[in-house]
Amino acid sequence: MLYQFICIVTGVILILPIIYAINISFMPQDEILTTNLHFFPSKAGYLENYKIVFMHTRILRFMWNSLVMAGISSIVRVIVASLAAFSFSFFEYRGKKALFALVVGSMIIPADVLVVQNYFTTAELGLINTYLGMMVVFFISGINIFVMRQNFLSYSISLKEAAQVDGCTNFKFYRKILMPSNIPVITTVFISSFVGTWNTYLWPLLVTNTDAMRTAQVAVTMLNNNEGSNYGVGAVMAAAVVILVPSVAVFLLFQRKIVGGVMAGAVKG
C-alpha cells in the first residue's frame, strides 16, 4: 500500500509540470503573467495560442520532417544494433573483442566534437538539405549495440545450437527466434532512439538550409524570441504541447510491448 502511495505521489510530481504547461497553453497572456498562481485556465476553450502556432509556423510540415527523421533513423538503429549485437553475442571470430571495444569506446566521444567532421562528410556526400543527411548520423549508436549485446548474452546458446541442428540458418535464427523473444529490448531501444532523435535541434538545423526542411524543435525557437516581438509564453507552450504528442504516442503505443515481453518471459519460466 505504501509502495503504491509513493509511486502515485512520485508520478503526480513528475507529471505536474507537463499538466501545467498544457494548462498555460490554454491561457491568455494576462492570465499567465500574474503574480498569483493560476494552475487552471479561468475559462475553457481559449485556443488563440494554438492558432498562433499553426498560423505563424509551418508546424505540421516541421513535425512531418521530424517524424520521418526520428521514425526511419530509429528503425534503422534497431536493425543495425540488433545485427551487431547478434554478432558480438553468438559468434567467435578474431578481433571480436577489439571491435566491441571500439563500439564501447565510441560512447565516450561527445557528439559535439564530431559535428565539423560529420558536416564535412555529409556535405561531401551531397546530403545537405536531404532527409538522409539529417538522419545518417543517427543510424548507429554504440549504447544501443551495447544494451542489445548484454541482453543477447543472457540468451541460451544451446537454443541456437538446437535450431542449427534442425537446419535453421543464422539469419533465420535471428529473424524467427532471437528477435521475437527480445521484444522488450527492441522496444526500449526504439522508444529511446525515437524520443532522442525527435528532440534533436542542432544537427538537423545545420544540415538543412530551407524552411521546408526544418524540424519541430525549430518551430518552438521561432516562437520564443525575446527581442523585437514575440508571441508570448502561451504560444511557446502550445507549440511544445503539439510537438510532444508524437513522442507520447510512440511511448504509449510501444509501452505494452515492454510489459508484454517481460510477462511472456515470466510465464515461460
Binding site: 497572456q29 500574474t34 528503425i75 536531404t130 538550409n209 530551407t210 526542411m213 516581438s229
Partner: protein
C-alpha cells in the same frame, strides 16, 4: 512479433519513400536556399537571418517587395532563410569544410563576430563597394556610431542592420506616484530612485526598484560610457587591431562602475538576476529595468502606453561617452562568384534604404540605420506617436562614436566569465578590487588562449 516487424518494415518503407521525395523537394523544389545558382536569367541570392515574429514579417515584406520590383528588373531573386542564432556558426562551418554549395550570400551576424567572420576568405569588405563611383549606399549615410560599430582594422567591413542600444525602462505611473518627474540620469540618482520605488512587506521585497543582471553587455556599456572616451579592451576595443587584453581594469572604469553598483546593491531594492525581465517589469514587479532597445516591441505588447524609456544612467555626472550600440550587421560572402556577390550587394543596399528601414524599424524597435529615414514624414509621425523609440535614436546620436562594444574574439567565453564573477560580486562574495582583478585576469587568460591557438 511478425505483425510488429511487418509494421516496422512497412513504416520504414513508407517513410523512406517520403524521405526520398521530400528530400529532393528540399534540395531543388523549394528553391536552392544553399546552393542557388543563376537559373536562366535570374541570379539567386540566399539571405540567412535569425528574426522571428513581427521582425521576420517586416524583413519578409521588404524582400518580397524587392523580388517583385527591383529584383525582377535586375534579374535577381532573394531566398530568405531562417537559421536561428546559429547562422554565423553555420557559415563558418561551411567555410571550414569548403562547402561552397551550402553557404549564404548574405548573413545577419552579431557585430562582435566581425573579426572571426572577416578571417574567412569569403567575406566581402563592403567598404570597397561603398567607395565605388555611383554606389547607392555610401559610408556617410550611416550614423557615425554605426559606422564605427562595423569598423575593423580601419575599414567599415559590414553593413549595420539590426542595431539597438541599452535603455532605462521605467513604469510611468510608479515614478509619478513616487513624486519623480523625470527618469534618473546618473547612477547616484538611480540609487535614490531605487530606494524610493522599492516596496517591502514583512521583510520581503514585493517590488524591486530596478532589475538588471550585469553580464558582458551591461558591464561593457557602463565602462565605455565613462569619461570622454573609454575602451573595454586594447587596440580601441579590438577595432584597430585584434584585442589582446582588457584595459577597463587599468583605466579605472571597471572599478568606478562596481563601486556605484555596490551602492545600488546596498539599497536592497536592486534585483541583480534576470528571470523574466520583460514580464516582471510588465507586471509591476520592478519599477525600472535596464534592457536593450530591441525589447520595446515586446513591451508594447505586454504593457502598451504604460512605460517610457530614458538614456542609460551615467556612472559619473560628467561622463560624455554615452552608450554603445550593439546588435547585428549584414555580411556579404563571395564564393568565387563576383556577379552573385554584386547581386547580394544590391539586395543589401535595398534593405538599408530609408523606406526599408522605416518598415524594419517600426516593426522591430531596432534603430533605423540610415540617416535619411528620420527625415521621412511617416517616420516623424511614428516618433511623435511613439516617443520611446526616439529616445533610442537620440541616445545613439549623442554618444561618442568611439564608445563601442569590444570585438572581443572570444565573445561567449568572456560573457560567461563576466556573468559568473558579477553574480558572485552581487551576492557579496567578492569585493570591488577582487572582482576587478578576477574579471581582468580571467578574460585576459581567455584572450591569450585564443591568440596562442589562432596565432
Amino acid at each position: 512479433m511478425k505483425k510488429l516487424l511487418a509494421l516496422l518494415l512497412c513504416g520504414a518503407m513508407a517513410l523512406g519513400t517520403a524521405a526520398c521525395g521530400a528530400g529532393n523537394e528540399g534540395k531543388g523544389g523549394t528553391g536552392s536556399a544553399g546552393s542557388g545558382q543563376a537559373s536562366g536569367d535570374t541570379q539567386e541570392v540566399v539571405f540567412w537571418h535569425s528574426f522571428s515574429g513581427a521582425t521576420e514579417a517586416a524583413l519578409a515584406s521588404i524582400i518580397n517587395e524587392y523580388n517583385e520590383g527591383r529584383g525582377k528588373e535586375k534579374g535577381i531573386h532573394v531566398e530568405l532563410v531562417y537559421q536561428g542564432y546559429e547562422g554565423t556558426d553555420k557559415v563558418m562551418l561551411a567555410y571550414q569544410t569548403k562547402d561552397y554549395e551550402n553557404a549564404p550570400d548574405i548573413n545577419v551576424g552579431l557585430t562582435s563576430t566581425i573579426p572571426a567572420v572577416m578571417d574567412m576568405g569569403w567575406t566581402v569588405n563592403v567598404e570597397d563597394y561603398m567607395k565605388e563611383d555611383g554606389s547607392e549606399v555610401t559610408k556617410d549615410m550611416f550614423y557615425e556610431p554605426l559606422q564605427q560599430a562595423c569598423t575593423y582594422e580601419g575599414q567599415m567591413v559590414a553593413v549595420p542592420f539590426s542595431n539597438s542600444i541599452p535603455l532605462l525602462y521605467y513604469n510611468k505611473e510608479m515614478l509619478e506616484e513616487a513624486g519623480f518627474e523625470k527618469a534618473p540620469e546618473t547612477m547616484d540618482e538611480l540609487k535614490d530612485y531605487v530606494t524610493a520605488l522599492t516596496v517591502e512587506e514583512g521583510g520581503e521585497v514585493k517590488r524591486y526598484g530596478l532589475n538588471m543582471q550585469v553580464k558582458r553587455y551591461q558591464l561593457v556599456e557602463f565602462c565605455v560610457s565613462q569619461g570622454e572616451v573609454s575602451f573595454f579592451g586594447d587596440n580601441q576595443g579590438g577595432r584597430e587591431a585584434p584585442m589582446t587584453k582588457i584595459v577597463a581594469g587599468d583605466d579605472g572604469t571597471l572599478k568606478t562602475f562596481l563601486e556605484k553598483l555596490q551602492a545600488l546593491i546596498d539599497t536592497g531594492g536592486y534585483k541583480y538576476v534576470e528571470d523574466n525581465i520583460n514580464e516582471e517589469f510588465a507586471q509591476g514587479l520592478s519599477a525600472m529595468a535596464i534592457m536593450s532597445s530591441s525589447r520595446m516591441g515586446t513591451l508594447d505588447e505586454l504593457m502598451p502606453g504604460k512605460y517610457m524609456t530614458a538614456y542609460l544612467p551615467k556612472v559619473n555626472a560628467d561622463d560624455a561617452g554615452g552608450a554603445a550600440v550593439g546588435g547585428s550587421c549584414l555580411n556579404i560572402f563571395n564564393r568565387d562568384d563576383d556577379d552573385r556577390a554584386r547581386a547580394a550587394w544590391d539586395v543589401v543596399q535595398y534593405c538599408v534604404s530609408p523606406k526599408s528601414q522605416y518598415t524594419f524599424s517600426t516593426a522591430s524597435g531596432y534603430i533605423p540605420v540610415n540617416k535619411g529615414c528620420e527625415d521621412l514624414d511617416e517616420m516623424k509621425k511614428y516618433y511623435e506617436e511613439n516617443p520611446q523609440y526616439k529616445v533610442a535614436l537620440d541616445q545613439m546620436k549623442e554618444a561618442n562614436p568611439l564608445s563601442q562594444e569590444p570585438l572581443d574574439l572570444t565573445y561567449n567565453e568572456i560573457n560567461g566569465i563576466i556573468t559568473e564573477i558579477m553574480l558572485e560580486f552581487c551576492q557579496g562574495n567578492l569585493g570591488v578590487d577582487e572582482t576587478v582583478n578576477k574579471i581582468v585576469e580571467r578574460c585576459n587568460d581567455a584572450l591569450d588562449e585564443y591568440h596562442s591557438v589562432n596565432g
